[in-house]
Amino acid sequence: MGKKSIHDWRPLRIMKISRLLFILIYVFSRVPRFTTALMYLLRPLYEPTRETWLNRKFRYGLLTLGGGLLAPEVFRAYGSGARAFVENFNSVFRAHKKGEPIVWVEWILNAEILESFYVTSMCSALLNIFANVESMAAPSQIIEEAENQGTPVEYCSAMKLNMGAYLLHQIPKPDLIIAGSHPCDTNVSIAQTMEYVTGAPSYFFDVPYWKDDDSFRYTEAQIWEQIEFLEKRLGKKIDWERLKDMLERVNRFNFYLGEICEMHKAIPCPGTMINLGYAWVVREVSLRSPHALAMAKGLYEAVKKNYLAGKGVVRHERVRVLLWFPPIAFFTYLFKWMEHEFGAVIVADFIGQVSTVPIDTSNKETMIRDLARTQMHLAMGRQCHGPVEFITDEMVKYFEQYSIDCMIFTGHQGCKHGWAAVKIIQDICRERNMPALFLNIDIMDQRCLDEQGVKNEITKFFRVQGWA
């Protein structure tokens, strides 16, 4: 059955398909036992097989949701996250239709401020994940479109997806852009290209190199500048009370996820890491929604139940894995696949780990001060914005705290600074006798190494270690 050419895609097609799927997820998450059982029964249609015309539109989503292997209470929490996505998408479609302002907030930045301006925000990088809903080939096609239009091929594919999505009208034109210089050169470069191409006035965060008090103060000063920029461009003043409410929700959101991260230190690990990966996506896309907090609370309660019972997410935990560097966007099922196939539990990873500071909401000054600190502690940003120690110290800390048996390093093609530090990371693993698999992969683009290729590499690695 022929697929539509990407040039025939209607505007915002992928976002609309994704919204429909999230609505279904939310509805079915209200009957989680039934749904997880159904998903489990239907596994032969989508799990062992490759993508076909029959399963194309739901395979990725169902696998991301664990393929029927998630606990019902966890699935229910995912439903809240899905509702958060729906809320955000609805607000984007509404604003787009009515010609109201839309503010792009690049990833690893705080969208919380936008809540206090009563303005629609969206993460322009959302198709990094959601393009997979269209088909396995869609992300590569979008990337190729960006490359054909002149986007540098060496850019991180996450940003090529961003660019391609815009050129193919799959994300709406912004009125304003908030972008930052982390985590890498691709962001520094594409932020400029995006302002040029969209014509949207942009506020650029210059992320400091270090994590000292001067650096936090510098970020803080820039957040005040950002507020000034937004007030001027939007023609309205910030609502401090609304920001306070938002940040109090953020505090609770971070608390729940931080607790989950702590509980993952237990043996056996009571939770699956896809929970925190999913939460990270919710954070990036829809943190402003109250359903994001409901999701975090639901996940926390589900994991805590296992933790208190001394129960692991798998019956026999054989291997505890650290997944280092950004997870594979096209293979979100990696976590449950490893658990199911090998009893290998990813107990900590690069993107899901929440390691932040609480925000003191007493007054404006403390809110902005601590918002600056939390921004610099967001995953991927906190590791990548400075010297290699930010990557390796955290990695070694997790080796020790999480009783790690091995590490899988997702060596993303576009990550030049990461590859420039690979010898240091390899040597650290060697010195600590830590078995490590270094994947040569593009986490968005399967043309480099596809899902089956990843499975093959991990299987071989586990066999060599005697775990398979």
């Binding site: 540098p152 210089s181 470069s189 932020a191 001067d214 030049k416 420039a420 530090a421």
Partner: protein
């Protein structure tokens, strides 16, 4: 020194990673501090009594050694340069200053520390990615931190007065280079782009007083000299890392006269003087933050494009050549912007990608010749970036 000699001299100096002027300074007791980027304030190094030395990969034996630490996905400059570091080619340095110029170069700080190669003084200098008052305040503080680090390690003291004197000297050097560049506006161009690159390579690795003397000597040799030919295409060259004189000679041999540029070892090096009145630290920060920017500066791309258009008029530019090294995100993005501008404003542009000292001369020559022919025939074509694959690399290089 005869008229021909000074150009031979700068060519010879630029072909090595040290020279008699530097050696004399070292023998005289001066220390040398290497640095990587046009955002590092040379005046601070000079005011401490040291000689600033712009790092380079000239005479590199290839990227093999550097690739042990880096990967094939990192640019050839850092791999080649770090290879030289590991060979001990920079053992004369007393200090090294890294910068967050790009992802490749910032990891030089990490790899150099990890390899524990001398010198002991290794400083990471951090420049903002934006301009503006907040960034300026931050940068001023960073420059003070940099000065304090040098003072602490070398037991020297950088006073406001010594800094003002260094600023005055470096401004004089900048004015000399502005004067030299102005000679390239005329119809007959007295100095080739490849010769200018040789000069820039030379003057960024010697004491500033020697550098100024050399520039003055070159300027004195220019009147009446004709380095371009009738019919040469007048070129604006935009590039980041460029130190291969032979590459520019290749472009010139195809019928191009490189008369203006936006290069780190070019206009970016001397654009904008430091304000000599007022607080020298703030003035230094202002100049280094606001000079002709490189693509790492996020809110300055319009200024760079405006500068391109102004220079096209001022120097009667016929065509633009934009270059990048493989795996350079920053220049990749800027070349994209220049390409879009070339479509809007209808000026010819050729985009080239290469590896540092990577060969591919035959391919590049063919491409440049074809481009020049199109320019002469007023044919505007919309081709993408040309990637030289370097099949004819020199022996011993990777």
């Amino acid at each position: 020194m005869g008229v021909m000699d000074v150009f031979d001299t700068i060519k010879a100096i630029s072909a090595s990673d040290h020279n008699e002027f530097l050696d004399a300074a070292i023998k005289g007791g001066a220390g040398v501090i290497g640095y990587f980027c046009s955002y590092v304030p040379e005046e601070i190094i000079h005011a401490s009594g040291m000689v600033p030395y712009r790092m380079r990969a000239v005479n590199s034996g290839g990227t093999r050694k550097g690739s042990v630490y880096y990967s094939a996905l990192n640019c050839s400059f850092v791999r080649a340069c770090f290879g030289k570091v590991l060979e001990g080619d920079f053992s004369f340095l007393n200090g090294i200053v890294f910068m967050n110029g790009c992802d490749h170069i910032r990891r030089m700080y990490d790899n150099w520390k990890y390899a524990d190669v001398p010198p002991d003084f290794r400083h990471m200098f951090v420049a903002p990615h934006v301009t503006g008052d907040t960034a300026h305040a931050r940068f001023t503080a960073e420059i003070r931190t940099f000065a304090r680090a040098i003072e602490g390690h070398f037991g020297v003291f950088i006073t406001d007065e010594s800094l003002r004197e260094s600023i005055r000297l470096y401004n004089k050097k900048r004015r000399l280079l502005v004067e030299l560049y102005s000679f390239r506006k005329g119809k007959i161009v007295p100095i080739k782009g490849s010769e200018v690159l040789s000069l820039m390579l030379a003057v960024t690795m010697m004491p500033v007083t020697d550098a100024m003397a050399l520039i003055e000597e070159v300027i004195a040799a220019l009147p009446g000299r004709a380095a371009s030919r009738d019919g040469d295409i007048r070129i604006y060259l935009a590039s980041g890392c460029m130190e291969e004189r032979e590459h520019l000679e290749l472009i010139e041999s195809c019928g191009g006269a490189i008369v203006a540029d936006s290069m780190c070892l070019g206009a970016r090096h001397f654009d904008l003087e430091v304000e000599e009145k007022g607080d020298p630290w703030e003035s230094l920060a202002r100049r280094y933050l606001e000079h002709l920017s490189c693509p790492r500066m996020m809110n300055e791309f319009r200024s760079r494009l405006d500068r391109l258009h102004r220079t096209r008029d001022e120097y009667a530019i016929d065509a633009v050549i934009g270059e990048k090294l493989k795996f350079c995100d920053l220049w990749g993005g800027d070349l994209y912007l220049m390409k879009q501008e070339s479509r809007k404003k209808r000026f010819p542009i050729l985009l080239l990608e290469r590896e540092l000292y990577g060969g591919g001369d035959g391919q590049i020559r063919t491409r440049v010749q074809a481009f020049f022919e199109q320019v002469r025939n007023n044919i505007y074509s919309d081709t993408g970036i040309f990637r030289a694959i370097g099949a004819d690399r020199q022996a011993g290089s990777n």
